[in-house]
Symmetry: C2
Subunit: 357 residues, 2 copies
DNA sequence: AAGTTTCATTAACACGCGTTAATAGATTCC
DNA sequence: GGAATCTATTAACGCGTGTTAATGAAACTT
């Protein structure tokens, strides 16, 4: 077992004190150390293969130099999250630049408060980013009260914690409007998740709003709840097709769910967009290559991650924030899965209406 | 600024020494502490809201209670990795159970050695899991020599580090054999990544082997390199279609790449599997809902993650390993994207052969 | 030339916990 | 009844670093 190299060893070799070594490695602006001394220290450190001990550092400085990405989802949903790679990619970019570490953790429902406190009080991390929180998360109040640096990716009504998100409601509104503008009047909705997830309920809200604004009535039978993965989207679409309700377009709350819906539509022998137009949400990289190419709402996932991270850094430094709440713009990417409703289809719809309702 | 709660405070309130508190919290098997004392300590801790400081703990015990997931990919590729969520999901399961943290990090090419050493020597982490390493990673030797607990997800020829993986070559062999069994003789290949990634070269190797074993000759013009994402798969397939070479089937090195290929085939007005059969690799959850349903090689990603993690734990404890090298079984999932070659198509092929070669 | 400021460095303490060796008390043994 | 064993607890040291207040040396003032 080799002895670990400490700052003491470096100091000895460089012929200076341990304190000086510390100044060099943290390039302390208060205490100027002569360039030549600095050089000596650096060389000694390099020669010995010195790596400052993270724990000791954290203990003495009271900063963990780490942040946490916290997910409240079931593991099943984590595995199904097509967005996670982009989120992590964005976080890693910023984190790397700032020389801090990224911890990743998931918390079981019911354990939130304890987990949040443990992570921050035990100083595993200096701050945290909460991914897709839920309405009913009791830990959020604790975070708010204790003033723990924390940014939410998403929004939680009733919480005053800083967040970065898109305007889910407006984006959904835009997507559904696109369908309405193409002449569709019977538009179904498949949510991206259960409604306890804020993004799901907000997107559904946008769907409702768009229909109302257009003077269309809302048929609750055309609303289906899915559950993150494409399998749930497939099931939801089968429900819709089997229900006898008629519709010429679908708004899906996520691309994953939309993919499942596409499969169900194909399987039923219907064509897209001839029989049914469909618009997704997220615009994951694969959406362009779905068949047909999926019209979707582009969500700047990478940018959301980066901005969250930046915001968190400011919070951690105690700096004043320009904006506590950030809403990033979305954009409708039009592809082949949506088209104007066909005359024939319209008639067909009419017949069906007579038939089924 | 509230004072943090230390074990000293807990000891005082409980009327015992700090040492006893430590014994209770680590439930030390050597030193038995009376149940009633234990209870007193627990209550005092709960009452004060005591969370043992992780840094101090790590410093004193010389264990970080954390492992790292290290990726050597460019951030772009991380964002495109459909597997990552499953991997992370699997790791989180084990890590949660063992009460340790998961750090996630990416390392730039050229910085590997430094990053590996920094993470382990500085005791940020006790051990690491390397995801999709490359042939040319110089840091691996350092890890091996220093005896740092480390598990590779994937394989690196020439390295003796423990790994968990699938038998890429055999799995690819199986996939291509499936096509051969369906009567295909002109089979193209699109790799999942550049060949400096071991999984890519191994899968290509399996492809070659399968053709050779079947007595088919290998046409280098039918081999295209893709680059993780579906866009590169799309480009690769366009190259193939535009090259004038003829083929009736394609083996794609990943489902993401296969998806891009599907899109290119549709765009060219060809049918699947009528004109071209295609088999993917990974069997990501979405593969079943691609159009048509993608025949693919199921990779137990979650299980790979779990086993890697377990293996790493054993290494960290210094326990002897049952197996340093683990190869998990794969399975071919047959869906609608592959079918027997049609007679007509065979003739057509014949004509084309005369025409182009 | 003595005093004042600036610059470069350091001694010494603090951070919160794990752990070993020692202590005091209770129990058992011959 | 004293020695020996066991039980429950603790004092004290070490982990490797950050940081403050102090020190000495040099440069600049009056």
């Amino acid at each position: 077992m080799e002895k670990r190299v400490t700052s003491h060893d470096v100091a000895e070799l460089a012929g200076v004190s341990r304190t000086t070594v510390s100044f060099v490695f943290n390039d302390d602006k208060q205490h100027f150390v002569r360039p030549e001394t600095r050089q000596k220290v650096r060389e000694a450190a390099h020669q010995l293969g010195y790596y400052p001990n993270a724990s000791a550092r954290a203990l003495a400085s009271k900063q963990a130099k780490a942040i946490g990405l916290i997910m409240t989802r079931d593991p099943h949903y984590i595995a199904a999250d097509n967005f996670l790679p982009q989120i992590i990619g964005g976080l890693l970019d910023v984190v790397k630049e700032k020389q801090i570490s990224l911890l990743i953790e998931w918390v079981e429902p019911g354990e939130q408060t304890h987990t949040y406190l443990n992570l921050t009080q035990a100083k595993h991390i200096d701050g945290m980013i909460l991914l897709t929180p839920r309405f009913d998360d009791p830990g959020l109040k604790a975070l708010e009260q204790l003033g723990i640096p924390c940014v939410i990716m998403g929004q939680v009504p009733g919480s005053n914690l800083p967040f970065v998100d898109i305007d889910n409601c407006a984006a959904a509104h835009m997507a559904v409007n696109h369908l309405i503008a193409l002449g569709h009047t019977r538009i179904a909705c498949i949510t991206n998740a259960r409604l306890s997830y804020t993004s799901a309920s907000q997107r559904l809200q946008g769907y409702r709003q768009a229909l109302m604004d257009a003077g269309l009535n809302i048929d609750e039978n055309l609303i289906q709840e899915a559950d993150f993965d494409s399998a749930s989207g497939y099931a939801a679409m089968r429900n819709l097709l089997g229900s006898g309700s008629n519709f010429s377009a679908v708004f899906a709350g996520s691309d994953a769910v939309a993919l499942g819906a596409l499969a169900a539509i194909h399987e039923a022998g219907l064509t897209i967009p001839g029989d049914i137009s469909i618009v997704g949400f997220d615009d994951i990289p694969e959406a362009a290559h779905y068949f047909p190419g999926l019209t979707s709402v582009r969500v700047p996932a990478n940018e959301i991650a980066r901005q969250s991270c930046r915001l968190l850094m400011h919070l951690m430094k105690g700096e004043p924030l320009a904006d506590r709440f950030i809403l990033l713009p979305t954009e409708l990417i039009s592809r082949q899965s949506t088209s104007e409703i066909e005359r024939s289809r319209k008639h067909h719809q009419g017949e069906k209406l007579v038939h089924f309702t």
